[in-house]
Structure formats: C-alpha cells, structure tokens
C-alpha cells in the first residue's frame, strides 16, 4: 500500500517540501494542511512591495493555483491541525477530520508575540504575519496619516520604511538603544537608525508602550517615559514565537521550537520539522539554531522532503537573509550571538559596507548594506571557519574569494 506523507503548515517550507516530494518521484499520498485561506505564498513582500501597493498577491504565490491538483497534492486550506497523535500516527483537524500519516513534516512557522497592554483591543491596532494582516494595514495607508510602529526588529523596521515611503507620518517606539540591536549590534544598528531618521521617520528608543488610548479606536499611544503619541493607526511588531501547540503531548522535544537533527528528524520516528519552527542542529556552528528567514525555509523544505524519502545529506547551508528598507538592501549571512570584533570593509558612514562579526579571529557572520556581491563572497569564509587577518578583510583590494585556502577548509 502506498504511503501517506502529511505536511502541517502550508507556508514556504511546507509548500516547498510538497513540491520537492513530487519532483523527487514520491508517488504516495501528499496532504498539505494550512490554516490560512490561501495556498502557500511568500511573506517578504507583505512588509514591502505588497504593503506599498506595488505588487499583487498573485506574484507572491509559490506555485500557480492549479499546481497542487495537477501534482496530486491534497491541499487543505483554512483548516488547522489541532493535535498530533504520535502513537496512532494521526493528525486531528479543527474541521473534525482525522488524517493518518506514515511520515509527518511539521512546518507551522511562527506566530506574532502578544504583549498584554492596556487598550490593545482598540480598533486600528494591527500586527503583520499574513496577507490578511497586510491587507488590513494597507487600508489605513494614505499620505499625511499618522502611524505608530511598536518594535524595531526587521518587520517593524520594514513596515516603518514602507509606511514612510507611502507618505505616512511614522513614529517608532523600541525598547533598545538602536534598531535591530539583538541581531546586528550597536554599530550597525546605528547605521539603520540614521537611515530611518534621514527619511523623516521619528524614532523613540529605550522606551516601551504603557497603553493604547482612544474611544473605540486607537487615538494615541502612551509610553512608559510619558510620551503621548497621537496617531490614526498602530502596527505592533514585537517578535515571534514558534507554533508548537499541535505537538503537545507527543514525544517530540520542544525547546525554542521543534528540536531536530541535521536531517530534520525529531526524536520521534516519522516526525520531521523544517522552516521557522525548526531548532535544527547545524554542523558548521556545532549547535542547534533556529532561523526565521526565507532562504532557510526554502532550503529546509527541500532538504526535509529528501530526508523523508530516505535520502538527503546533513544540512549545512549557511543562513542568509535580506531586508529592504527605503532604497537600501541589507543582507546578513551566518549566525552569531556574541562576538569580540566587528571588522568593516567599506564605510559605515557612507552606508556601503560589509562587516564581519568575529570571535577568536573566526568569522561567525557578515552583514552588508548595498554590497550584495561582497556578502555572497563572504559565505565561504564563514563556512571554512578559518582564521583570517582583519587587515585583509578590511582591504578593498583583497578579493574576498581568494581568502579561503583549500587546505584549511574543514567542510
């Protein structure tokens, strides 16, 4: 009898896994279950081109609408998996249906963190994860209106930029000293700060929201430091947390998402996880990491499908992502939490650089603004884990591609 592979989460990782299973010749049943109304689509435009009304939803679709039917993929939209039973090997859906699986890929992504705040139930307060969210925010956008964005991580920063570019007057409130501090650190965060200020976006740092005020609809945001910011609408972007509820009660280990090995296997036979939700073992960084970005979800969707088919190789892609803000393109590659030196090639002031986060002379990660080519050429340096002299990294005349010496390459 043919096997059934069930995928929970019809996003980038889940959708990619489904098409990879077919591409690689799997002829069993593929069931793709998604809580949203739509077939798999890409989220990056939701805070950028789509939010600014410069691109259509169709352009964001992973595959044309008839792809799933034509490829024998049973796509169930607008249904949520509520419980997975790892002994009976079934998935319970909120439609009342039960689906039996031989193998299951869990790719339910992340959800926006909710921070309880007085007044958060008022109209005109939004967060952003889905196209439905983006549509609601789009309806609020028109030149001269006032918005407050809460939180200046990537999504907050991008929303602030897109609103500003659409003529909205924007104030951002963030608890840190600079934007994106957690990922990029203070020096690079400062560059992003200046970019936003130069575009006329107001930024308030080291402050948090104490309450939203208004009658029926939000009219102002009151901060802990005592600011009262009048506004027409608010976008809250205070980070995310992994969606793991359907796995509660199974033997699957949950720790900062779903814990998997370098083949995306959980500790429970037949259950895999990939994408934003997967805390996966990474051989290059010799630890588990969870990455919430596009390339990661795409590549892991492919790799997890291959692993489910019994093939595949240990996953060792170096994480990479981009963020577009105003006319600038930021890219980051690698993974770092702490570092002892930031080595800059180019100029922070001129906003054109690639900077390397180093620890013990090894490059853990690199970030670039408007230097996509240099960033890409830095990836092998990260992967090689070689010690490379700072002076050579800084010197624009040294070709980054020539810095890795084959003899030292570990992987």
């Amino acid at each position: 009898m043919s096997e059934t592979f069930v995928i929970v989460g019809a996003g980038l990782a889940g959708g990619t896994a489904a098409s990879t299973l077919r591409q690689d010749g799997f002829d069993g049943r593929v069931v793709l279950i998604g809580a949203e109304k739509h077939p798999p689509y890409e989220r990056p435009p939701l805070s950028k081109e789509y939010l600014r009304d410069e691109s259509s939803f169709e352009q964001a679709l992973l595959q044309p609408l008839d792809f799933y039917g034509e490829n024998g993929i049973e796509l169930k939209c607008d249904v949520r998996a509520t419980r997975i039973d790892d002994r009976e090997k079934t998935v319970e859906l909120d439609s009342g249906e039960q689906v039996a699986y031989d193998k299951l890929l869990f790719a339910a992504g992340v959800k926006n963190r909710q921070v309880p705040t007085p007044g958060s139930g008022l109209d005109g307060i939004y967060d952003l994860r889905t196209v439905a969210d983006s549509d609601l925010i789009r309806r609020e956008i028109s030149p001269g209106r006032k918005a407050v964005v809460v939180g200046m991580g990537f999504i907050g920063s991008e929303v602030a930029a897109s609103l500003r570019q659409s003529g909205v007057e924007v104030t951002v409130v963030d608890r840190n000293k600079v934007p994106l501090r957690r990922v990029l650190g203070e020096e690079v965060g400062r560059v992003i700060e200046v970019i936003h200020r130069d575009h006329g976006t107001e930024l308030i740092f080291e402050d948090t929201v104490a309450a939203f005020e208004g009658t029926g609809r939000v009219e102002s945001v009151v901060t802990s430091a005592g600011h009262s910011l009048g506004c027409d609408f608010v976008v809250v972007a205070l980070g995310v947390e992994p969606v793991v509820e359907p796995l509660v009660g199974t033997g699957v280990e949950i720790d900062n998402g779903v814990v998997v090995d370098e083949y995306f296997r959980t500790g429970v036979e037949g259950i895999y996880a990939a994408g934003d939700v997967a805390n996966h073992y990474h051989p290059v960084f010799e630890r588990h990491i969870r990455v919430e970005h596009w390339q990661n979800a795409l590549k892991q969707g492919q790799a997890a499908a291959r692993s489910m088919l019994g093939g595949g190789e240990p996953y060792q892609e170096i994480p990479w992502f981009w963020s577009d803000q105003y006319e600038h393109n930021l890219q980051y590659s690698g993974f770092h939490r702490e570092w002892d030196e930031l080595v800059v090639r180019g100029s922070l002031q001129e906003r054109s650089f690639v900077a390397f986060y180093r620890k013990d002379e090894r490059i853990l990660a690199a970030v670039a603004i408007d230097r996509g080519r240099d960033l890409r050429r830095s990836v092998p340096l990260i992967k090689s884990r070689q010690r490379i002299e700072a002076s050579r990294l800084r010197d624009p005349d040294v070709d980054l591609r020539k810095l890795v010496t084959a003899a030292n390459t570990r992987l």
Partner: protein, 102 residues
Amino acid sequence: MTEFVAVAGVDELEAGEMRAFDVRGVKIAVANVGGAFHAFDDTCTHAGCSLAGGDLEETTVICPCHGSEFDVRSGEVLQGPAREPVETYETRVEDGSLKIEG
C-alpha cells in the same frame, strides 16, 4: 533583419566577468563564460536590481539583491525569489568588437 550594436572591444571583458551596456535605451548585461559571450537583460525580474552587479558562477548569474539565479544562456530562473526569466539576446564578435542584437 536583426541588427547588431557594437558595445565594446572583445578584450575589454575578461572571462568570468560581466558588464552592463546601454543598447538603445535598454540595459543589457554581457557575461564572458570561458570566451563565449552571453547577453541578457541586466534588470532582474524580481525587483529590478542590476544583474551585472552580482556574481557569475560558470553559466549562472546571481542577483546581488535577493539571490535569484538565472542561466545566462537561456535566461531561465534557476532559483527564486524571481519567477520570470530574463530576456536573452544574440551576440556576435566582428573585427575585434563585441556586438549585441538590438
């Protein structure tokens, strides 16, 4: 009849390199892959970045902005986020100069 426009001397573009030229108002990138010249639209179909500003790895051009990959010979998308192929153009070498269809 297809007309060809001279854009550079053949030795101005080394193997493994790319450059963009303005051919009658259209930005066209040319890649030298081991002595063979391949011409294609310089403007990435994803969000419009200049492909010549990216990297060339054998016959693949990689966009500097979001990593879309195209085959320089056919214009075909090898990896997203781009979905639409880029237009390709014929090239010709005559009297030591590189010419592009235009």
